[in-house]
Structure formats: structure tokens, C-alpha cells
Symmetry: D2
Subunit: 316 residues, 4 copies
């Protein structure tokens, strides 16, 4: 069931009138996006509700949905951050009720929080940049391999769809095409997710996003100094073991590296790395599709876990 | 005068038969690319010879040209590196004569070596990536501001023309379009230029190139830890003073940052920076056109200096 | 089963070593591309053989496969053309045996020749441009609506993958990006397919291909003068009725028009049209993905028909 | 002098604050875009005024400027069309004063109306599509070679900058990239320019624009049936003679054809053609940069003629 605006009127539009590219696919032509109101919804029939709404709306609507007994997968940033200091950038409301609900929210990274996701009522679906960087770093940080005095550099590059559908100067063709630009250099909103999920302080990681002249895909180049000189095999083992039960993360054999074309239109996050000859410096490359593993298909992966289905159901 | 192959035959082709886009420009249609032999060339008439030839050819031909009293601007890497360890990657010949000549070669970075270029017989025109990174770092390193124990990260991204004209998989449209990939992660050939020109050891700088899905342009994102917390003003002053007499470097006012569209089809290198709130970490962005400031128009800039003309002659 | 080179050795490579983007998909990592020889193949187990081989190879191998009792779907042009005059451009061999086999080949356009495909041993899978133009014109020509004294103009534009995987100047990034060029203006090889499938003489249709700076997709703009002034409804009805049982052709409601983004990565051919105010001139726009409906997925559609499965099996 | 808004205040912004890519060019950094009012402007000092303003503004301001003794080159469509039926699409005002002024306006196609431009007070700078099609057809129509009973097809493709700077869905990166779409099929606003400049009726030419996924450049593919079978030489001679004194039109030798890369960032219009083997059908390809020969640099070319300077002054 596809829901549009909250409204007392009962109007609807067909899905394929808005997305004609979906016409002819099974059932697509009969699907409607319909106005809804909460009293109708509350009468049941919905087990899991996806919210792909602005942060403020998600904050309000998640509460409603939970009250009515639905589980929620929220694709906004409304519920991703536990620390007020990290949430401040979104200028969301804050009160004791919201704080209580926030504590129940699980960050929807299936590779990190699978069991908690399966048991959760409210999933905060991760940011696209955050997913690419967290999946690259979690194995190394948990293994205590990273020299955090030196700090981590995450130089990330994203296609234009990462900027959303609103018409802006920077997602116009004439700005983005044949161009590359850095933005939000010391202040991207996904930084808080990195800090909380990776247990880092803000001086320990620096994240710089760039706007790529392509429709979709993220590549993050991550620079790490190791606590002790390592070997290719030891690093490879750490990644392999960490993701041994994670069908949506593909770990490449060093020196092979991921590239954006390999992940676009998939739910995979691809990881690869190379080690400096002296074994001290590590470059990890992480690639995913910002619209899929970075958003909608990761939400489906979370739904699968919540529903007790196989994690990859509908995703391969 | 445009020279093609070394040959005893005296054949030629018109420039515009190969580059029809130049037809109709002043004098273009009468220009010929002609076969040549050194005995003809030696009879005089050439003051400065540009070599846009493979490294091996440049090594041989520069010697000839110098013997015949020409000055040389060589766009290959044959003469850029003084240290054998840095030259090894190019597998060039090495003997005492070449070593002697190498010592006379001046690295053609007008902003760093203006007076030496003006007096030189042999200019080694810099690499494209190297130019973008060297110009970003030289002011800060000379001012002793960079914490070299932490080391510098240079994450660089280049358009496809940087890969040359040979038909390869990685410069095919189907590979490069809608893609981004890292390559030569710990071993790009331009690294030696960075080390020599910036007086760094290989552990002090890490340079990772990426292939952008655009025809031309380089953007380098450079991560620096400062020895002492700095202020925006102090950093801005250092760049402004260093490049006060350099018409081809444009220093942006922080927080404004360069982007590739601003430099494409110009001889400018644009520099901009942002400083972390605690004043300890600096991100410098450097942009240029790899075919111009990164190659041919920087060669013209060097010629201007060698000929005693204004540095920007023909370039604005 | 994936076959590579004909060879007496029994070597193989894994599919995902060549196409790492497929890794992690069901069964993909265990798939091998293996050398083969005909004596092994002849021992059975293969019902339908796809040939994605050069024309000359397809000509030879299709004969072998048919002798061994396999059905063949050939993606080359070896078997598409019945007229020697149209075949000449491919410089294929010609003898009485080949001619006899040619007569049994069915042109694999499921929307035109469904029953014949279902009964065929040898399918000549259509060209990409040809598919887009034939599907746009067949309904109108069968309804005798086109003024053939005036003639038809088919101005077609294709993404770079249409040019194949060989490394050539025209499919290099530097040639194709930010460019558009016409080629093969009066002599594209797909013209013969248009003439035979649409029963036209060479003066009655003019087809001009262009190279688009995108990876995939074809859009053909087709200009038709009508025998009698028509109405939007009458034209719409003709398309709707002709494709009423064709799940892979989507007919848009005029004035809506197809565009390349709507068909890329699908097996659909989208058709739309607009009529001049005086009802005499018609513009039909036809879009498809040259790698799918223009090649591989149309081959699967043909296989479905040959095997008695639903036409869309595996394609939606 | 660069003028911005009409205003009583005397404020200004620097050119390079809006277009930082121009910084460092001669004089650019001191140039201001300043508010203006007509009483100031009327005091003299302006010989020729360029108007790059909306149609309605151009209609009003051109009158003012002419009253104050300035010559005007207007880049809008306000003054391009003499026939009310052709002007209707722009919904401009119409009264006897405007009609009188319209009669004095000269269509700024230097290749067609050079002497009239030199003598004019008011130049209507042509549309980009119109320029590409008119220059391709004028020689053939004046030579009476075109079979107008069959009619002309002009299938034109333009980069995104042709759509202007307003933020719209169709010039967003996500719509335009990797796409191609036809639009305004039987009703593009430039049609009137074609009819008037080429003396055609609306049934004699059909013009279909398409949106290309590139920043700039137009390629028009034009289909012509000849009155009498022609020879390559005869067609080549007609183009060569017609443009013998036109330095900004480059006529290619058949079968060479123009392509967009050859004209981008130039004021050239490139023309090329191929003839069918029977000599009856002609395809003419016309390329130009929609922002230059299709707009601003053609305006400069017109200024040069009005000022008595060489046509190419500042343009090569």
C-alpha cells in the first residue's frame, strides 16, 4: 500500500502516472498512491510502515504509527542519533516523550545490529554516506587496529541523487555535469552517525563529501594509520570474518578495489583495501548505491529482519 | 612549426585534417605537421622546442636539441626527477651524460622556480596531479605549518584525458562513464615529483588518484594537520602572500572552494581551504585543467619566462 | 552453462572474475565460462544454444548446433536477412547449404512472428536499431496508413554500448562524451532488416543513426506522412490493437512520449506519437535498451516462446 | 558596462562574485554589474546596448534605448518575427508603435543579412535552433533545389543550457543525465523564425527538438528531397559559394560531417552533407554552440557589423 498526503479527502493517483517507467511490471499499473488519515490507518492491516518523509514529519508520524501498533522503518534522520549534540543540526523537536522513543530506536545497519533490528519497533534507516563509511570502518575499529591519535580521513564522493529531488542550483544539470565540488567540509549532517556508530570523537574522523557528475553511487576513500604494522592477510581476514554472515557486503580480495559501476542498482556494499608497503597505512574503498543500500533497499533489508524473513528477500 | 615523426622523407599533413575543430582559426588551415630530421633542425631557426613525446623519446631528443643550441620544454617525465629512486618507475636509461644533463633540468613550476626557469636550457614540465598538489602545499610547508608526523593525505580526482590518447579499457566510454574508481593507490608515478618538490619523505604524504567520468579537470582534496592551531586569516595570508606575484594561481577567500568547472579551459590553478573549528585541521582544495595548467599551457607559461615575455602572454 | 572458446583444453574461468559486479547474486559465484568442443556438446544436455559471437562464427556454429539437435538463438546478423543484396554488407559466406538453412531461420521479433518463433529451430535475434524502428512502423504499415511516395525518415540515436566492446576511437570516452555525431548515414547495416521486415524498398525509408553520449538506450524519432489525414484516436487504436497481446511493448497515450530513462534496464520497447494539427504528419518515438530488448533480453523472450514458457518469464 | 536591475538605488555587485571562473582575466575583477535607471543611461556613452532579458522586458527596453539614440542587439525573441501569427506564441504586447518598430528590426543572421545588419538600429538576435537550421537550408532553398511538396524534416538535438537557467524538472541533472527526450514536437517557438527566414509554409518544414544529456551544443539532422537528382560536387559548390565570404560558417567536404565537439566554445556553425547514391535525397548536418553562435557570440558578430569592424573581431 502506497500512501501520499495526510488528508480527509480520499483521492489517489496511480503509481505509473508518476513513474511511467514502472508501467507493465507485475501489478504496477493497478497500484495507487492514496491520501490517508490516521484514524483509517489505525484500524489495522499494516504491520510495518516505511516513512520516506521529511525529518519533522517522520518524528511526528513515527509516534502515531507506533501507538497504533505498527512497526516503523523511517528513512529520515529523525531517529538516527542518540546524542542531543549530534541531533542539533536537524533542529528537531525535543521533549521527554521523544527522548523516550529515541531510546527504543535501533540504527538500521543489518550488518552491525541484526538481532536488535529483528526485535525493534522503530528502525532509523541509516544515511547513505554513513552506511558506506561505517561498513568500511567497523571491522577495523572493533579489532582495535586504528591509530586514533592520527585519526581517520573519509573522502567520500556521491552521485547527484544523493541531494534529493528538490530543484536546487547544485542538482541542476548545468552545475553538476562535467564538474566536481566538495561541500559541507567540516559539517556534514551524517557525521553524527559516524561518531555514534563507530564510538569516535569528532577529532578522530574527518569526513568530506563531494558531488560527482553521475546520477547515483557513492565511493568513499578512507585513510587509516594502523596501530601496528599489518599484513594484507591479517586485514583481509578481519573483513572476511566480520562479514562472513552478511550477504549484502562483498569483500574484494586485495589489491582488487570496488568501483561505482559494480554496485549501482544493487543492495551490495563493496569493500576493498590496499596496504602500504611498510604495513602502516591502509586505504579502504567502500562503494554502494546511495538510493538502494544507502536508502530504500537497506530499508527492505531491515523489514526482512523485522518480519523474520531471510535478509536478502526481494533484494537479489 | 609543428613537427611529427623523425623521417628522411619530407611529408606532412595539415593540422586541421587531424583537428578539424581548429579550421577557420587564424593561420590554422595553413599549418602543417611535418616530418623532420635532426640535421635540418640543427640549421637553426628554432629557439625553443616543445617535446610532447614519450619519456624515452624525450630523453634522447632533448639531448639532441640542446646540442643544437635550442632550449627545450619537455612535457614528459624524462627530466622531472633528480633522485634515481624516484626515476626508477619510468625505467629510463641512466648514464653519466644523462645524469649531468638531469642536473641542469629545471622543474617547470613557474610559481616555485620562476627565476631558474628564465635562465634554464631544459625545462621539465610538471605532471598534472603533481602541479595541483604542489601548488596547494608549497606555501604551508615553506611556512613550516604542517605536522609531518601525522602526514598529508592528497585525495585527487582527474578527468579521463589525464589517461592519454591510447585506446585502453579504462578510458573507454563504457568503463569510465557513470563510474568512479581509485587506481595506483600506493604507487602513482607522480609521487616522486611531490617528494622532491616539497622536500618530503614517502611516509609524509599519501597520494591517491581517482578516475572521474568527465573529459578534463583535476580536483585534489588535501588533508593537513597543523603544527599549531591556526586562524582562517593566518592561512589566508600565507596563500595570498605566496602567490601575490603569481597571476595563474587564484586563491579563493575561505570558505569559498574551487570546483572543476571554474578552471576547465584555463591556465589557472585555483586554491581554497577550510579550517576545522578547533583550528588544527585544514582541508585545501586545488583545481586545474590537466590538459592546460597541468600540461600544455603551463609549458607556454614556461616558454614565456624563458623568452623574457610576460608570464601570461597568450594565456588569458 | 556458459561457453567460451572452442578448445581441446578443458580450462575455465569463473564468471565473477570477469564480471565482479555479479558476485553475491544467487549461483553467480559458482558459474564458470568454460572452453568447449563440439564433440562434448553434441552428447546432449543443451536444448537451446545462444550464440553471441561474430557473424562468421555464428554462421558456422549455428550449423553445427542444429546438426546436434540443439535449437539456436543467434544474436549476430548471420541469419537475419533473406535477400542476398541485403546480406552483402556482412561479407558472409554463401552456398546452397547456407541458403537452405537461411530459409528456415525466423527473425526473432516476438511481437511480429510469435507463432513462427515458437516453432523455429533457428532464431535470428534482431538488431537493436532495427527492433526500435520495426516496432514503431509495423502497425502503421500493416494498416496501410503510410504515404510511401513521400517515404519514412527514421532518425535514431543510440548509446555507446551499441558500438560493441572493441576498443575504438569512437567508443573512447574522449570522443563520445559531451558529443553527438551522425554516422553510416546512407549505409547502416541494419537497413536490410527494416526493408525485409517492413516490406519496403530502399527509397521508402531513410535511417540515420547517431552516437549519443550515454552508456545505453536507443531513441528513434520517426517521421511519417499519412495517406489520409488521421485522428489521434485512430492512431492510438492502431497501436493499441496491434500490441494488445504484447506485454513487452508499452504504448503511451498521446501526447505522452517515451524517453530513454524509462526503458533502460528493461525489456520494454516504449512507443508514443504525436500528430500534426492537420492530421497529415505523424511523429512516432520509439525507445528501448539496446543491450536488452535490442539484444540479450529479446533473446530470452525468444527462448521463452521456443520453450513454451510465458513470453515474459524472467524478464519483469 | 554591465547592467543589472532597473532601480533607483545605485548598488552593484562585482562580476566575479557571481562568475568566479572569470577572476584573474584581464579587467574582469574590476567589472561591476550595476543597477541602472534610464535617465542616467540616456545621458549618453552607450552606442550599442545588448539586451539579454525576457521577451517582455526586451520589448519595453528596446523602445527606450532606441529613443535615447542607442543601437540595440536584443537576444530575446521579442523582435524576431514579422508575422503576427508567428509572434502569437510569445504572447507579447501588440500595438501600432510596436508594429512600426518591428518593421525596422533586422534578423541578426550575419550570413544572410550582413548589409542590413550594418545599417540597422535594432537587431533581433536569432534563436539557437533557428540559426542551425536556417544556415543549413538557406543555400539550398535559394538555389531552388528542395522539393517542397515532400517537405523538409529538421531533427534537432540540443544540450541542456538551451533550456535556460531557471530551475526546472527537465534541466535537473536527474532528469537530463543519461537520457534523451523529444519535446515541443509540433510546436517549438523557433518554428516561426524558420518560416519567415526561409520563406516556407508550415507544411513545408517539420522541426523536432530533443534534449541531449550534455551542457552545450546543437546538432541538427536535416532531411531534404531534391527537385532533381544532384551530384556531390554540385551540392558542395552551392554551400561553398554561399558561404565564401562567411568566416563563421565552416563547410565540410562531403562525406565528412560536423559533430558537436568541433564547435563547442566557438562561434562557428559547421555544415556537412551526404547524398544518397541515387542523388535524390540529401542529409545535411549542422552544428553550433547554442550559447555562442546560437546566442552571445552571434550578438557580438552583429555588433561588429553595426560598428563597422571586422565581422570576426574578438571571436577567433
Amino acid at each position: 500500500m502506497l500512501l501520499g498526503r495526510e488528508s480527509d479527502e480520499t483521492s489517489s493517483v496511480s503509481l505509473t502516472s508518476i513513474h511511467p517507467q514502472l508501467s507493465g511490471l507485475p501489478n504496477a499499473d493497478s497500484l495507487k498512491i492514496r491520501d490517508f488519515n490516521w484514524s483509517q490507518l489505525s484500524r489495522g492491516g499494516i504491520d510495518i510502515l516505511f516513512l520516506a518523509t521529511p525529518h519533522e514529519q517522520s518524528q511526528k508520524w513515527a509516534s502515531y504509527a507506533l501507538q497504533y501498533g505498527m512497526k516503523v522503518v523511517d528513512l529520515s534522520a529523525a531517529w538516527r542519533l542518540q546524542e542531543d549534540s549530534n541531533r542539533a543540526i536537524y533542529k528537531l523537536e525535543n521533549n521527554s516523550e521523544i527522548q523516550a522513543l529515541q531510546k527504543t530506536a535501533v540504527y538500521g545497519s543489518p550488518e552491525l545490529h541484526g538481532p536488535a533490528i529483528a526485535a525493534a519497533q522503530l528502525i532509523a534507516n541509516p544515511g547513505c554516506y554513513a552506511t558506506s563509511i561505517i561498513l568500511a570502518l567497523a571491522p577495523l575499529l572493533r579489532a582495535n587496529m586504528v591509530d586514533l591519535n592520527i585519526g581517520i580521513i573519509a573522502d567520500a564522493k556521491s552521485g547527484v541523487s544523493g541531494a534529493g529531488k528538490a530543484l536546487t542550483h547544485s542538482n541542476s544539470f548545468m552545475y553538476a555535469a562535467d564538474n566536481l565540488s566538495a561541500y559541507a567540509v567540516f559539517g556534514h549532517r551524517h557525521t553524527g552517525e559516524l561518531l555514534e556508530q563507530l564510538n569516535l570523537t569528532s577529532g578522530q574522523i574527518q569526513f568530506t563529501p563531494h558531488l560527482l557528475p553521475i546520477p547515483r553511487g557513492i565511493l568513499s576513500t578512507i585513510y587509516i594509520r594502523l596501530n601496528e604494522p599489518g599484513s594484507i592477510k591479517s586485514i583481509q581476514d578481519i573483513f572476511d570474518e566480520f562479514y562472513a554472515s552478511s550477504p549484502m557486503v562483498r569483500v574484494r580480495r586485495s589489491p582488487a578495489l570496488p568501483q561505482i559501476q559494480h554496485v549501482v542498482r544493487t543492495n551490495f556494499c563493496d569493500l576493498g583495501f590496499q596496504l602500504s608497503p611498510d604495513g602502516k597505512r591502509l586505504v579502504v574503498i567502500s562503494c554502494l548505491d546511495n538510493l538502494l543500500k544507502g536508502a530504500s533497499s537497506q530499508a527492505v533489508q531491515n523489514m526482512n529482519l523485522m518480519a523474520g524473513w531471510h535478509e536478502t528477500e526481494g533484494l537479489l
